[in-house]
Subunit: 423 residues, 2 copies
């Protein structure tokens, strides 16, 4: 295919007409598909329905009645599975409720209300800034916005955030209090942090003594095409005495049920002690019966991984379909770039500059709702207006096939219109 | 029985000797009983074991897949049951996770971080004070302490907090931002707020425009001996345009399982809108499968009430036993006062001034752990050192019988020793 970006005005006009005719057919077909969020499909959730079984036993191995009050930080059996999955010691793990987002939000607000290990509460500071590698996860950015934190966009490279930029900013400005990271199969690009990136994050100098890395390992055991290994950031941080810097998050939201999974966080000894001192005021403990359900369903971390292999088989056809269609329709057109993720939940695509919003608008007009353009950037403002997050997991393969064909058409139509503007 | 407080020194010394001999027997018996918290007994939890059954269906009436993400404020069926139980419209209800304490804490911290409906965030104020009717619930006071809120003790009367004191303080000091209330079968005294108390709380003038009544109706459907009706505080508050003042909390912690129940909060339209605007950043939604379990188990609010009647039958023998023993051992001794609760989870007893700590210490030495003396007051400081919370729900009837006999003995021994000090 010749590069469409090199077409003459006449060629572009001819193509535009062709694309518009095709687009009109979609509009008439009246599709109605929501691809805006990274939700598992019902068929994927069905794989885990064993978790709905009756709970014949409600006592833990230690003989504790999981129906009753108690156990602030999770039952030992659940901690053990999380520990084996993440390589983090049980003593550094707190098991939460059904939402790691909730654990992140609460960890953030705790820093605002109480500071960290003796530092000034962030709510008492004139300015708090956070580093936001972008494209990134919109809900991370939303937490910053909710709390009035100034977000500083850091470019994402193929092996993680641009560490030259991160190091320079973190070292010089003590109002920069931390960074958001999704280190494996990142949302939305599927980027996996290299060992060097992890080492640099763990060891870098920061002007703020209470700098915090929010390490959202949401897809820590979610390979689809290839398992990528991630360096244990706690191990690295300990080497430079920076273990208090790490706030680690993980959950079974995309392992079992998004609505009724089990979340966890992990931190250094000192942080865990401080976090628990406030958490014990906030709650008597999270749902231990649901922890027990997960423990009885999985038994071991190995079984979780075997389960993830099943989920990967469910997801593979969807991701392959999207990648094949993108290849077929857009490769070498010059109108879009994307990379193939090895796992996770998303594929990110860059249109020509200034075409993301229009692409998403066109798709929506024809009945396919994508994640809002800009959502992957702080303040929902993509400076180039080019990044779009594709969430292939929820639709069926048939629906996805239609949706992604339409999407490719919209990328082309928006691109051709943009090219014509300058002709 | 003659009043022990009127004994001569010789009579007291003789009694002391007798009591000490008896006490030594208990020490030798090596009891090991924890009556410190208001936990249901395993036998009480067994009544609700139907909730452990497998969940055959996981879609709501509206066809929503409860396994997946979504529904920030709870499934409609759960809201309906809560609405019917509390007399609050569904639109003013938010269903939470397993802990109403968590909803209270988060509501408190939201006020610190964001203020309320445009007011200054409380974290930006030099001083925040809260009215704390006492004896009261230690975990309420702990929230204030965690956030550095100055607690002002308000005396509890037989129909709720002393409203003359509350009205005067609330009207004159704009740093007083609210009050903690457990309006039915209060923790620890079992006091039920009169209609007049509710009306005065709802209509009183407050110097702070963002004054908040934390209305923890934890025992709203928990009669044991007699059902007491409580005025709907929202209805009353609306009459004076004060509906934004009310933050209402309720849960099934002591209806189903403390560790795996469902909590709710309720507030005015304006508050709900503001709360949801932050809550939607904090979480995508709470565990809907557990909500569905509760809905399928209870079906209606009427069934919840029928269930509570069963729980009352379970609790009645325990409360009766304690009250009978107190009557038998302490009535007319002059050494203790208590009142008989109509429901709830506790019996509060007042020893002679300066005897609560010693009573609890003596009981502990002999193997029975009571709620710490002072716990029912702000800063854990009971000015008279006289109030002790008895939590009769967890032990079996046999254990309770032993424990309460020992407890009465300790009340007497501590009292006699105190009387001897001034002879």
């Amino acid at each position: 295919m010749a590069k469409i970006t090199e077409y003459s005005k006449e060629e572009l006009l001819a193509l535009k007409k062709e694309l518009e005719t095709e687009y009109d057919k979609y509009v008439k077909a009246n599709l109605s598909l929501d691809m805006s969020r990274g939700k598992p499909a019902p068929t994927q959730l069905d794989i885990t329905n064993g978790l709905l079984a009756s709970l014949e036993e409600y006592t833990t191995e230690a003989g504790l009645d999981a129906r009753n009050y108690g156990v602030l930080d999770g039952i030992p059996e659940m901690k053990k599975i999380f520990s084996d999955l993440t390589g983090i010691e049980e003593k550094n793990i707190i098991v939460g409720g059904n939402s790691s987002l909730n654990l992140m939000y609460d960890s953030f607000t705790r820093l605002f209300l109480f500071g960290a290990l003796g530092s000034t509460p962030w709510c008492k500071l004139d300015k708090v800034k956070f580093l936001c590698p972008a494209p990134g996860y919109d809900r991370h950015f939303a937490i910053c916005e909710d709390l009035g934190v100034e977000m500083i966009t850091v470019p994402m490279l193929q092996d993680g955030p641009d560490m030259d930029v991160v190091e320079e900013l973190a070292a010089k400005d003590d109002s920069i209090k931390g960074i958001w990271c999704v280190p494996l199969y990142s949302n939305p690009q599927g980027i996996c942090y290299s060992d060097e990136t992890v080492k640099r994050l763990a060891s870098m100098k920061t002007a703020a003594s209470d700098f915090r890395i929010f390490w959202d390992n949401a897809y820590g055991v979610h390979p689809i095409f290839e398992e990528v290994s991630l360096l244990n950031i706690f191990d690295e941080a300990k080497k430079s005495g920076n273990e208090d810097r790490i706030m680690y998050f993980f959950s079974t939201s995309k392992i079992t049920f998004p609505g009724a999974g089990v979340a966890m966080m992990a931190a250094s000894d000192a942080n865990i002690k401080e976090i628990k001192s406030h958490m014990t005021i906030q709650t008597i403990g999270h749902d231990k019966l649901n922890q027990l359900r997960h423990v009885k369903y999985f038994k071991t971390a190995e079984n979780v991984k075997a389960h993830m292999a099943k989920l990967a088989e469910e997801l593979k056809p969807k991701f392959s379909l999207v990648l094949e269609k993108l290849d077929k329709e857009l490769k070498d057109t010059g109108l879009a770039n994307w990379c193939s993720p090895k796992g996770g939940y998303f594929i990110a695509l860059d249109t020509l500059d200034g075409c993301a919003k229009e692409t998403v608008r066109l798709a929506k007009e024809a009945g396919v709702v994508m994640t809002g353009a800009g959502a992957t950037f702080p303040y929902q403002k993509d400076p180039k207006d080019s990044n779009i997050r594709i969430a292939p997991t929820y639709p069926s393969v048939d629906e996805l096939s239609q949706a992604i064909e339409l999407f490719c058409l919209c990328v082309k139509l928006a691109g051709v219109n943009k090219l014509l503007e300058s002709k």
